[in-house]
């Protein structure tokens, strides 16, 4: 089967996600990018699972999806909190603490 293609897709998605996390300033966009990374992982897991002919891959993927949802929930909450206090969701702005 097309293992490599899937893996390459996963790698690309992951890279895009990484780029987004590191480059986008909008907090929400950062969260989205993280989702991208996680989904890249999911693709890998599923593909490998099929490759090896075991289900653990899919199971793992399901766990990841579930957890990702929870994470994003928390993430959005925090961003919201920040927006309330600082009326900004630009991650570059938050550097009260440094050094």
């Amino acid at each position: 089967m097309l293992l490599n293609q899937f893996l390459i897709l996963g790698a690309l998605l992951f890279s895009v996600g990484v780029y987004g996390v590191l480059a986008r300033r909008n907090g929400v966009m950062v969260l989205m990018s993280i989702e991208l990374m996680l989904n890249a992982v999911n693709i890998n897991l599923v593909v490998f699972g099929v490759q090896h002919g075991v289900v653990s891959g899919q199971v793992f993927a399901l766990f990841v999806i579930a957890v990702a949802a929870a994470e994003v929930g928390v993430g959005l909450a925090i961003v919201l909190l920040l927006y309330r206090n600082r009326t900004s969701i630009d991650v570059e702005d938050f550097d009260l603490m440094r050094g």
Binding site: M37, L45, F60, I78, D95, G99
Partner: protein
């Protein structure tokens, strides 16, 4: 596809799961109580949480007495002495943190019940972590302990520092876990299994290919982030400074310990075959972490931030044994476990004193400790003992932890190990240089504008101090106690 259909209900060993279930129950109970008598219940919450934690220790004791090693879910979840020791450690440190939190949370305008619920949940994650022997369970446990921690870090809703702390912790956390997951996926892909033992066999036998290396590295990095190892430490200082002090203590001790536990299982069980990757990686990381942490700590003026960096450096010390993981596995595990145990108490103690002092001075600056010895000799002496322990000066506990490191290194022997040993020695000296700055303020300086009214130490904080102080001194004078735990944990961990 018949694979999917052939689902058989896994056999549950309730005794083995008793601790987790107890925690879960207490957590839920707190929420229920809150829902039912919301405000009137506030007073009871800390007690309830504390009781819950202590109650959780009971099944652990029974399991320890029973002593048989229990394994579930095809070896994904193991209850052995190693895990029990660490569960106990998590719970006790959690209890101390609760004691620390009581007044702090009560005085500020915080949600109390949720606070304790979340803390218990996070502890649940840790407790699970120490039993996980499978990529999936490790991942789940990690997230279970992290996600509540993200919220706790941002608990001071009003304070923008706290929010920022939360944000940084969260973003870095999920980013790191994404990286880790990617690594896990690669490892899984190579081995076709999520079970550590299988992974170990596959990786050990399998040829060295770059995918494996990539996978291993990414996984390790994910946890290196958790234990705030340089260069993945950057979140720690900011988060520590911003988060509520008890939470900081919690992060600095419990969650770091959890990361260490995960690393132990990964390195000593899953990746032991690939010491060609693991050992150099940790050599580098630990050396960097110690040195950078200590050096930056030299320049700190805020006590919490100072402790944050000192914590990073301590983490570096804890990582040292991993650098000889394959050469001297037993000694290495022992060293890490011992270090964790001692570190938990001495660091918690230090934070407790910070908390107590902050209640009067309302400041986190080191200068605000001037003349502490004059008006609060008790606290000053306690702080001195904790710092001495952190610096590794007998008879306070820390020396035995450091001793464990050297022991592991020299047991492994060889030039690299010796070199690392010397680096550790040098760092010990640097470390004392900044601990001494606090000591100097406390002992050598007169109190700021002669304000000499003594500090009120509330019951809870007093209790926390007593526990930590006793433990620290006991470990220093009779290291046999903690040494024993180290030993038992080793046998099982390597046995499994």
């Amino acid at each position: 596809m018949d694979v999917l259909l052939a689902f058989t209900r896994p056999s549950l060993d309730w005794h083995a799961l008793a601790p987790e279930l107890t925690l879960l129950a207490v957590g839920t109970l707190i929420t229920l109580v809150d829902i039912i008598w919301d405000d009137r219940s506030k007073r009871a919450m800390p007690t309830l949480a504390g009781m819950g934690l202590l109650a959780t220790l009971i099944p652990i004791l029974t399991l320890a007495v029973d002593g048989t090693e229990r394994s579930m879910f095809g070896g994904a979840y193991v209850v052995d002495d190693f895990s029990l020791v660490l569960k106990a450690l998590f719970l006790i440190s959690g209890y101390v943190v609760v004691l620390m939190s009581v007044d702090y949370i009560r005085d500020g305008d915080y949600y109390e019940n949720e606070y304790y619920t979340l803390m218990l949940t996070s502890l649940l994650g840790m407790v699970m972590m120490s039993s996980s022997r499978d990529l999936i369970s490790v991942f789940v446990a990690l997230e279970l302990l992290s996600i509540p921690a993200y919220m706790l870090a941002a608990w001071r809703k009003g304070g923008s520092r706290s929010n920022e702390a939360g944000l940084k912790y969260y973003l870095m956390g999920v980013f790191a876990s994404a990286v880790m997951l990617y690594g896990m996926s690669l490892v899984y892909g190579l081995t076709g299994s999520t079970n550590f033992d299988t992974i170990a066999q596959e990786l050990g036998s399998g040829p060295s290919n770059s995918i494996a290396i990539l996978g291993i590295l990414f996984v390790l990095i994910g946890f290196a982030f958790k234990v705030s190892a340089v260069p993945f430490h950057t979140w720690a200082p900011d988060t520590y400074e911003g988060a509520p002090t008890p939470v900081t203590a919690f992060l600095a001790v419990a969650s770091k310990a959890a990361g260490m536990v995960a690393l132990i299982q990964l390195v000593f069980v899953a990746f032991l075959g690939r010491d060609d990757v693991v050992q150099p990686f940790f050599w580098l990381i630990s050396a960097l972490t110690m040195t950078v942490g200590n050096l930056i700590a030299l320049r700190q003026t805020n006590i919490v931030r100072l402790l944050a960096y000192s914590g990073i450096a301590q983490g570096g010390f804890m990582l040292v044994p991993f650098a000889v993981a394959a050469d001297a596995p037993a000694r290495a595990i022992e060293a890490v476990v011992i270090y964790l145990a001692i570190y938990a108490f001495m660091n918690l103690g230090a934070f407790t004193v910070v908390l107590a002092v902050a209640r009067k001075t309302r400041s986190g600056e080191i200068d605000s400790y001037a003349g502490l010895f004059q008006y609060a000799p008790g606290l000053a002496v306690a702080m001195t003992i904790f710092l001495a322990a952190l610096a590794g000066i007998p008879p306070a506990g820390g020396w035995f932890a450091k001793f464990g490191l050297f022991r592991a290194l020299l047991d492994a022997g060889g030039g690299w190990a010796a070199a690392l040993g010397v680096i550790v020695a040098v760092n010990t000296v640097i470390a004392f240089a900044y601990y001494a700055r606090v000591l100097m303020q406390m002992w050598f300086q007169p109190a700021a504008e002669g304000d000499e009214q003594p500090i009120v130490v509330t019951g809870a904080i007093g209790a926390a101090l007593t526990v930590t102080l006793l433990a620290t001194m006991a470990f220093g004078v009779l290291p046999g106690l903690v040494g024993h735990f180290g030993e038992v944990s080793v046998l099982s961990a390597l046995g499994g």
